[in-house]
């Protein structure tokens, strides 16, 4: 009987994605250590990495980096498979879907800031959806919507500007 050998080929792309995901995890952990005035409002710095990856390596790579970041970040914070993780995953999937659509918008008109803001809106929309449907059904979330959308607006703008600045520097 010949022993079966499983040989995992590690491509350069795998390494790149792993490295970028690690950077995103680092930002997530750093962010978790910063106390924030309002629970639930986070700057979402890891999305800077997602957006840069989207522009440099395409949507598929961005999906990998983002999902790896969500899972690894949750494992590192001890939140894996908790409601926090589910919310983070829902937000991540929603913003990735939004980015997958928005990346086809004409580049002449839409830059990183627009994409970042759209992704932030999709993110918070999905998260509030999870809260409304699963975590706290029946709670009136409408008053919170404006607060969280406002926060998403600010973080979307700031992250988008950072991405635009980074890409500008690169080219």
């Amino acid at each position: 009987m010949t022993p079966s050998i499983i040989n995992l080929e590690i491509s350069a792309e795998d390494r790149r994605i792993a490295g970028l995901a690690a950077a995103a995890v680092g930002l997530t952990l750093a962010e978790a250590a910063v106390p924030l005035p309002l629970p639930g409002v986070k700057p979402g710095l890891a999305n800077i990495v997602t957006l840069v990856v989207l522009y440099q390596f395409g949507w598929r790579a961005a999906v990998w980096v983002s999902l790896l970041r969500i899972v690894a970040g949750a494992l590192a914070l001890g939140a894996f498979l908790t409601p926090t993780f589910v919310m983070s995953l829902a937000g991540g999937l929603a913003s990735l879907t939004m980015l997958g659509l928005a990346v086809h918008l004409p580049r002449r008109w839409f830059g990183p800031v627009g994409l970042s803001a759209l992704a932030a809106f999709a993110h918070i929309g999905a998260q509030l959806g999870v809260v409304g449907v699963w975590l706290m059904p029946g709670v009136n979330l409408l008053p919170l919507l404006s607060v969280f959308l406002g926060a998403a607006w600010v973080s979307g703008l700031v992250n988008g500007l950072v991405v635009a600045g980074l890409l500008e520097k690169k080219t």
Partner: protein, 121 residues
């Protein structure tokens, strides 16, 4: 980076997205206002928990009789009470966070914000 340089990174579509988002936030602002709740208690137990957005009159039975609670136009007050001193009736419309207590009839009306614990999320 200078502010002017940062602005040059924004493309017309980006402005559109930001303006749309800001308009949405502005439209939702105040809409639904606060997560207000009206909690009516009788003898320490929750008799009714409702929203101040629904105009209605509620009759709360107590040991002395019926206390009438009125909710109108997003405000709440105790309209009538069988108690002798009428303290809770004289209190008038309740502001957010205020409580009216009709002690003889053991009825209390609280106007409070809904509790939403978003900790950890």
């Amino acid at each position: 980076m200078k502010p002017a340089a940062a602005l040059s990174l924004l493309k017309p579509g980006d402005w559109l997205v930001l303006a749309g988002g800001a308009a949405l936030v502005a439209a939702l602002w105040g809409h639904g206002g606060s997560g207000d709740r009206v909690v009516i208690k009788q003898a320490g137990r929750v008799f009714l928990e409702t929203t101040p957005r629904l105009d209605r009159e509620i009759a709360v039975p107590g040991p002395l009789g019926v206390t009438q609670v009125e909710i109108r136009g997003g405000r709440v007050r105790i309209k009538s009470d069988p108690g002798t001193q009428q303290i809770c009736v004289k209190q008038g419309w309740l502001g957010p966070g205020q409580v009216a207590i009709c002690l003889p009839n053991r009825v209390s009306v609280e106007r409070g914000a809904s509790i939403y614990d978003s900790l950890n999320y």
